[in-house]
Amino acid sequence: MQTNSPAVGTGTAFYVDNTDYYYGSFQAVRDVTLDIPERKITAFIGPSGCGKSTVLRCFNRLNDLIPSAHIKGRITYRGVDIYDKGVDPIDLRRNIGMVFQKPNPFPKSIYENIAFGARINGYKGDMDELVERSLRAAAIWDEVKDKLKESGLSISGGQQQRLCIARAIAIEPQVLLMDEPCSALDPISTRSVEELMQELKERYTIIIVTHNMQQATRVSDMTAFFNAEPTEKGGKQGYLVEYAPTQTIFNSPQMEATQDYVSGRFG
């Protein structure tokens, strides 16, 4: 549907420049430097507590909702500093969609689940057409086309998650952030979501957090491995160990910790 210019589509989407992530005075993740390519799937892997979700939630500034959360450093999207005071988080989130760990459809009809985001953002086109297009793009249209008026909670978990993906792409974002999108799903639903991701990356930049290394090898082009180490105060601090093409991370990583993790020695 979009006519993104190829020039933009091959460049860098996000550039994270030497950024630290804080909750209050607690430094949750330190020293992250990354560039996320456009129209590729980038996977964040690592043991729990390594801060991969925290990093993800700063790309659409969802962490702004936690009053104590803040960053030190610079995250740019297509060259614009997303934490600049001129950037409105609401507008940012319209452009950076997100899918969550557990399917979280709204307690509304399937149709309204899709239409909600478009309506609040002042969609000017034909709503019926948008709903159908979004559901088709999320490969769920055939399953729900006869029950658009039924509750979004009435369908199976896998269908709910694809509904949430459809909801996210209905507002025509450029990026999809996916926070362990398959962790609550059975293997068959997981496969359908993974196949969908391969289709979606034609048009969207995708960043996926996953604790499932097989999933990272199956779907992603780039992989960032985060690790955690205990802090003096007893918490855990995450840091980026290695960031490279997925093939490299899983076959010939530079760092020993990465090698240990991907071969299943810890985590």
Binding site: Q2, N4, S5, V8, Y77, R78, G79, V80, D84, K85, G86, V87, D88, I90, D91, L92, R94, N95, A118, I120, N121, G122, Y123, K124, G125, I171, E172, P173, Q174
Partner: protein, 309 residues
């Protein structure tokens, strides 16, 4: 953070937004209005409460202080100036005692039964649904129940429109609250404690009596005091039971007729003369002091309870 700036910046990064007109400025305006409306709604209740307290103090404090302590230790009188709340205050305290003695054991017992022995039987579910229902039943209906059961059927025991009939009626009224408070307090006791008791070979009753109840007791007492303070402010059921409005003596036994502070307030408020209205306000102050004392006791217990845990 001006919206003009933001839209400019985001146009830079948005290349697919053509189908949307986000109208951020307008939406932020709506947000602000909504937030302010919510704040005003919250403050409205507080303003009314403040005005109520102020109004009653202005109306009644003068009378209370000017006639102190005669307002407290005099009987009602046809002359507003010489009238006091002695019989009403004593009546209220007597009701408090009777209600507590009747409602506490019965309510706590039912609560223990439902929580520890009830399980998922149809009976406990039935009782539970009924208890839920009773919370919405108007207090005046309890008055009718008391009128039928205690005043009429048990006339020989209660002496009819007596202080004991009224106390038992109020006990019925707050029974559901005490049952719920008991269950909540017992739920809060960790299961590990019960298991530890059983592991030591205690019987079910011993575990409840020696381990669960002592920990749950402060919570139960807090709930009971709050329920009692509700009972003590009740007027309607007492009127239906047949509280007297003019009682120039102190009850000497439980079958005596009685009055209570809310009844006295109601009576004085209904009279046309302003002098009696001042009496009503002064009696409200006495009632509120009584209620605040009880509530402070409940808060004290709750805090003590929380700091021990």
């Amino acid at each position: 953070m001006t919206t003009a700036d933001s839209s400019k910046d985001l146009n830079q990064i948005s290349d697919s937004a053509s189908g949307f007109d986000s109208n951020l400025a307008g939406r932020y305006q709506q947000d602000k209005i909504f937030r302010i409306a919510a704040l005003i709604a919250t403050l409205a209740g507080l303003v009314v409460l403040g005005f109520l307290v102020f109004d009653i103090l202005v109306d009644g404090l003068g009378r209370l202080l000017q006639n102190f302590p005669s307002f407290i230790n005099s009987f009602p009188s046809r002359s507003a100036d010489r009238a006091g709340v002695l019989s009403a205050l004593v009546g209220s305290i007597l009701l408090l005692i009777i209600t507590a003695l009747a409602a506490f054991p019965l309510g706590v017992g039912t609560g223990i039964f439902l929580q520890e022995f009830g399980g998922d039987s149809w009976f406990s579910k039935f009782v539970e649904v009924n208890i839920g229902n009773l919370a919405a039943v108007p207090s005046i209906i309890y008055g009718l129940l008391g009128l039928t059961v205690f005043v009429d059927l048990l006339f020989n025991v209660t002496g009819g429109r007596s202080v004991v009939s009224a106390g038992l009626t109020l006990a019925l009224l707050i029974l559901p609250v005490i049952i719920v408070a008991t269950r909540e307090a017992m739920k809060a006791v960790p299961d590990s404690l019960r298991l530890a008791g059983f592991a030591l070979g205690s019987t079910r009753w011993q575990v409840i009596w020696e381990h669960v109840l002592p920990l749950a007791l402060p919570g139960i007492l807090t709930g009971t005091i709050l329920a009692l303070s509700r009972a003590i402010g009740e007027t309607a059921p007492l009127i239906v039971i047949g509280a007297a409005t003019f009682v120039p003596f102190l009850p000497t036994n439980l079958k005596d007729s009685f009055t209570a502070l809310p009844i006295q307030i109601f009576n004085w408020t209904s009279r046309p003369q302003a002098a009696f209205h001042a009496n009503a306000a002064a009696a409200i102050i006495v009632l509120m002091v009584l209620l605040l004392t009880m509530n402070a006791g409940a808060i004290f217990l709750r805090n003590k309870f929380q700091s021990e845990r």
